[in-house]
């Protein structure tokens, strides 16, 4: 598949902000950030040093966006394959370089080139269809909440799981994995919120706060995803939102 060079150039121009330019220039390539990275700590390969993630991006810039499939493939391997954007490296870098910000810029290049990794693309498509990245239907979600609440009430008879309660203090959101595959996690969350007497509500819309668009480098979808949570919070008039892990 030929790469859409025009789209890459457009994203590249948009992403070359003040921090990106500064950080790519001052990085000393001293390797101190490696001490912070869990990839490097569990397998000390030179390619696992955080600063290594900047190489494909610098190459894209050096070529002025004239990328080919080969470079995009390498960029994907390095910037999707070996970074979780956890930011630990930033704490170890003497300049405090935000490697995660640069990795995300690199991922935006991949998105523009049409190279979003399949798993992430699928999650995003699920979101477009169902409002959550695992494609759970609304009824399935509501039923799972009901079911876990009933289980919980066997232990805490007064337990509640208010749905769409306007004016609550806290709106809680989830990782859809916890609802679909590990409902016992939902049970534990509800138990904690009830036990500490929090004035909380669940929401029937915008309950998935994992932002795959933020992770994949797709700005449009990232905005939609956080937009859904914000819209739910505004609709319910809550004071704060508890986001998922």
């Amino acid at each position: 598949m030929p790469v859409d060079v025009a789209a890459v150039k457009e994203v590249l121009a948009a992403k070359q902000g003040a921090r990106l330019k500064m950080w790519l220039e001052i990085c000393a390539r001293c390797g101190l950030c490696a001490e912070g990275c869990h990839f490097y700590q569990s397998d000390p390969r030179p390619e696992y040093a955080p600063a290594y993630r900047l190489k494909p991006l610098m190459e894209v810039i050096r070529r002025g966006g004239e990328v080919d499939e080969e470079l995009i493939k390498r960029l994907c391997e390095v910037d999707y394959g070996t970074c979780t954007m956890c930011q630990r490296c930033t704490m170890y870098c003497p300049y405090g370089i935000g490697v995660n910000v640069l990795v995300r810029a690199a991922r935006s290049i991949a998105v523009a080139a049409g190279a979003t990794p399949l798993g992430l693309a699928r999650g995003q498509a699920n979101f477009e269809e169902s409002g959550n990245n695992l494609g759970m239907s609304g009824p399935d979600y509501l039923e799972t909440v009901e079911w876990q609440l009933e289980e919980l009430q066997a232990e805490l008879p007064d337990a509640k799981a208010p749905m769409d309660a306007a004016g609550a203090r806290t709106m809680v959101t989830f990782h859809p994995r916890d609802i679909k595959f590990y409902p016992q996690n939902l049970y534990s969350y509800l138990k904690i919120y009830n036990a500490c007497g929090e004035d909380f509500t669940l929401t029937s819309e915008g309950w998935d706060s994992t932002n795959l668009g933020l992770f994949s480098g797709n700005d449009a979808i990232a905005a939609k995803m956080s937009g859904a949570v914000v819209a739910a919070a505004e609709r319910l008039g809550v004071r704060r939102v508890l986001t998922a892990e």
Binding site: L32, E35, M91
Partner: protein
């Protein structure tokens, strides 16, 4: 040779110094200007208190890397402190500045400058060895890193050789003045711009840490 030396300590030096000073200021101004257009949250999120804490934690070795990488930190401080001390306080320099602008200040005794210059060269050798021997650093290193290290080492090495009268003094002192000019000219345009942008970058990241209340690290 004499003409070259006169040039390198006269008009060229004025030029280099102006490029250095204006370039340094411009780097900060350009950062702010670009941030206004493309990185607005960086300006909106600026928190002076957290920025200052972050800068301070890394200007003194009170950070996680000082513990995780004590040797690099130690040699890093030696490298920078000896460099700045020699550049600002060595007698020859203060005499030159006094002659040009009738400004003068406390100077290092020659022996101390000598010792600091040697300490600097040792630290530079340590950084060069890391780049050659440690696989992570070797993989990251680009030719530009060697060039910058050479640009940083040249004035110290030639200054020390001139002061010790090793080799042809006239040649050495001319090379030294040229190397000093080259360094001043390189600061705004290479990764040596970290001399200024270190403070900007730590301010940005410190403010971000402040937003999350996670400490200065």
């Amino acid at each position: 040779m004499d003409a070259l030396y006169t040039l390198a300590t006269g008009p060229l030096l004025m030029f280099s110094f102006a490029v250095f000073a204006l370039g340094a200021a411009a780097r900060v101004a350009l950062f702010v200007r670009l941030a206004r257009r493309k990185d607005l949250p960086v300006l909106q999120g600026f928190q002076p208190h957290w920025a200052a804490r972050s800068i301070l934690h890394w200007l003194i070795p009170a950070n996680v890397t000082a513990k995780a990488s004590p040797f690099v930190t130690g040699f890093g401080f030696l490298f920078h402190i000896s460099f700045l001390a020699c550049a600002v306080f060595c007698q020859a320099h203060v005499v030159l500045i006094d002659a040009a602008w009738s400004l003068s200040w406390w100077t290092l005794p020659d022996q101390a400058a000598d010792l600091l210059a040697q300490a600097f060269l040792a630290a530079a050798a340590f950084f060069a060895a890391r780049r050659l021997l440690i696989p992570v650093v070797r993989t990251l290193t680009t030719p530009a890193d060697w060039l910058v290290l050479a640009i940083a080492v040249a004035p110290m090495l030639t200054g020390l050789l001139a002061a010790r009268q090793i080799g042809d003094y006239n040649l050495m002192i001319t090379l030294h003045a040229l190397a000093g000019n080259l360094l001043l000219l390189a600061i705004p345009f290479t990764k040596l711009s970290h001399m200024i942008l270190f403070f900007v970058s730590r301010a940005v990241t410190g403010s971000d840490f402040g937003k999350r209340q996670v400490g200065a690290w």
